[in-house]
């Protein structure tokens, strides 16, 4: 201690002889090794390391490729009846088709066989998958949009508006959704028929439209709650306060601090919403409230297969396995996305 006092008060009081210039190797340690990464790059990197999620993506891409290209390759339509070819097994041919094969013509095989009316089952499953996936996707998008707008309005405005908006959400949330969906599908089915007659919507079928309406009316509430909650908590975080203190603009706070933190939750919830929508659609179709015949959906195919279960179990297996595969893949992908994109789960 004593020798310190001997030093000039103006000196920096650092003994320079104790220091040596850094070697090149030491300098290199200070270099930034990796590229700076964005939120998405970081998440995708983690997602790519997850074998289950990648497997799910591969399965989904395969299914999507099949449902896009199969109708172009397979020469049968989903409502097209092949005469005398009812209830064929996979890769079997009707007698007339066998005759034309014997005559040297090539007949496209019935990969999954045919149903009781003689319709090619493979193409029906393909169209059923199309319907189910589309319903899942659009229903989730609708839920996302309504929920996001409603939730962010309630979250941003706060106060009385928030209170009233959230009480409405509370009531809708406590409604037994499945019961109301069944009820509204029955009613909308009956009432919509006249309204949409002659428009493009008629092609979709009243069942599909009522399904979307019901989804839009009921399922957005959990999304709205989630987003409002996210915005409320994120708004109160210290880093937002810190950003405000150093004079960050509101736009930058929202885009850099609030949105990325919300985004992960939004992506994950939407990804997990799709399988739940597919579940609901197949459930309604199974009850006979889904798409209208002859348009197939995976649920209605499974329901139709029930009557001939004893003799033709494969008719149930094909749509059932497809539903399970899609839902499984989407669930795994959703879980993977949650692990990859939810920063709070990183340990």
């Amino acid at each position: 201690m004593a020798e310190n006092f001997k030093k000039s008060p103006l000196s920096a009081q650092v003994d320079l002889s104790k220091f040596a210039p850094a070697t090149d190797e030491e300098k290199r340690q200070q270099d930034v090794m990796g590229e700076s990464t964005t939120f998405f790059k970081d998440g995708m990197r983690r997602l790519r390391k997850n074998p289950l999620a990648m497997g799910a993506i591969v399965v989904l891409i395969l299914i999507i490729l099949i449902i896009i290209f199969a109708p172009m390759i397979v020469p049968y339509g989903y409502a097209e009846i092949v005469k005398g070819a009812s209830n064929l097994g996979p890769f079997q041919y009707s007698s007339s088709e066998q005759a034309s094969i014997a005559a040297g013509e090539s007949v496209f095989p019935h990969i999954f066989g045919t149903d009781s009316l003689g319709r090619d089952y493979f193409i029906r499953v393909v169209y059923g998958t199309r319907v189910s996936l589309c319903v899942g996707l659009f229903a989730s998008l609708m839920v996302l949009i309504i929920g996001m707008v409603y939730g962010s309005i309630a979250g941003y405005l706060g106060g009385m508006v928030d209170m009233i908006m959230m009480r409405i959400v509370d009531i809708i949330y406590s409604l037994p959704d499945m019961l109301i969906i069944i009820l509204l599908s029955v009613v909308l089915n009956e009432t919509l028929g006249g309204v949409i007659k002659g428009t493009i919507l008629a092609k979709l079928g009243t069942n599909m439209i009522s399904l979307f309406i019901v989804y839009g009316l009921l399922y957005w509430v959990s999304m709205a709650r989630l987003i409002r909650g996210q915005i409320l908590t994120i708004k109160q975080n210290e880093y937002v306060l810190a950003a405000q203190c150093i004079g960050t603009s509101t736009g930058r706070i929202i885009s850099r601090h609030i949105l990325p933190n919300c985004l992960s939750v939004i992506i994950i919830t939407t990804a997990l919403q799709i399988p739940s929508a597919i579940f609901t659609e197949s459930y309604l179709s199974f009850l006979g409230l889904g798409v209208s015949a002859p348009m197939p959906s995976l649920g209605s195919l499974a329901n139709d297969a029930r009557s001939g279960l004893q003799s033709y179990p494969l008719k149930l297996i094909f749509p059932a396995v497809t539903i399970c595969l899609i839902v499984l893949a989407l669930n795994l992908l959703g879980d993977g996305l949650r692990d990859a994109f939810d920063p709070k789960l990183q340990r």
Binding site: D170, I171, S174, L175, P176, M178, L179, I180, I182, L183, L184, V186, V187, E190, T191, G194, P275, F279, S282, Y283, F286, L287, G288, L289, G299, A302, N303, A305, R306, L309, Q310, P313, L316, A320, I323, C324, L325, V327, L328, N331, L332
Partner: protein, 303 residues
């Protein structure tokens, strides 16, 4: 606490009221009355029938009358069969309740056991198997599972006879109803158990020399139970809706299959009565769940 319960009860009553409104006006929006049948009914008969069921009065008055009767426990008569709906519900609900309760018990017990095993043997073979199994089950709609079970065990193996009046073996329907909630409870238990086991009080208990089994049951499982309790309400709702398809598949004459028949027959009064009845059960289940949840864990802050 009292304030919270009052608030929750009021919300529940409001919900039931909203449900009854939706149901009633939805049913009235359907074009074509119940007496527009294929057979030509004379105008006089139709008018008499409509007057008998109050269908000639304004909708609001009809709703008022319906609610008045409802509060007195009179659910009206089925428009198709002319039977008292209270009787229909009275005879079909016990069947559904028996199924549902058995499924709920099975789901909770197995879910807790499997979830605890998975948490205690984390990343070992049993855990992997349980995770694989639950992932698979959650991807399978109840109607697929029910039909597969029916096919394999009734038709192919013949282990279980098909459900009939003389033989009411409920094992297959119960399994098909219980699988999904069981998988869900297993996942919940696993996460909350892992969370509970990493807490300081577990280390303290172990350091004190508390036997392992007591640590797991008294300190681990008891705390891990709390998130599971929140799922009981949704589970009852899921079992009730699931029972509709499951009962239809196994041709059990429970409330679920009555509801489905009501939908196909456009039996308005039956649909409305069943919806309100099931909705009340679900709302009450959620109410009890919420209150119990706050009661069991004093750490949860009351609003």
């Amino acid at each position: 606490m009292g304030k919270y319960i009052v608030k929750r009860v009021l919300l529940a009553i409001l919900t039931i009221f909203v449900i009854s409104l939706i149901t009633f006006f939805a049913m009235n929006a359907i074009p074509g009355g119940p007496f527009n049948s294929e057979k030509a009914t004379s105008e006089a008969t139709k008018a008499a029938l409509e007057a008998r069921y109050n269908l000639d009065k304004p909708v609001i008055v009809q709703y008022g009358l319906y609610m008045k009767n409802l509060l007195q426990g009179d659910l009206g008569v089925s428009l198709k069969t002319g039977r008292n709906i209270s009787d229909i519900i009275g005879e079909s609900f016990p069947i559904s309740a028996k199924l549902g309760l058995a499924a709920a018990c099975l789901a909770i017990v197995l879910g807790l056991v499997l979830g605890s095993i998975a948490a205690l043997m984390r990343n070992r073979v049993p855990d992997r198997l349980i995770v694989f199994f639950t992932t698979l089950v959650t991807a399978m709609p109840s109607f697929v599972l029910a039909t597969l079970l029916l096919y394999v065990f009734c038709m192919k193996l013949g282990w279980v006879p098909v459900w009939s009046a003389g033989n009411n073996n409920i094992i297959l329907p119960v399994i098909s109803l219980a699988c999904y909630p069981m998988a869900y409870i297993t996942r919940l238990t696993k996460t909350s158990m892992l969370d509970a086991l990493s807490q300081d009080y577990i280390r303290t208990a172990r350091a004190k020399g508390v036997p392992q089994i007591k640590v797991i049951f008294k300190h681990g499982l008891r705390n891990a139970l709390i998130p599971v309790i929140t799922y009981v309400g949704p589970m009852i709702a899921s079992i009730l809706t699931g029972s509709m398809v499951v009962e239809s598949i196994f041709t059990i004459g429970g409330l679920g299959s009555k509801f489905v028949t009501g939908i196909t027959n456009r039996d308005y009064t039956l649909i409305m009565a069943t919806t309100i009845f099931l909705a009340v059960i679900m709302v009450i289940a959620n109410l009890i769940t919420d209150i119990v949840y706050k009661l069991v864990d004093p750490r949860i802050k009351l609003e």
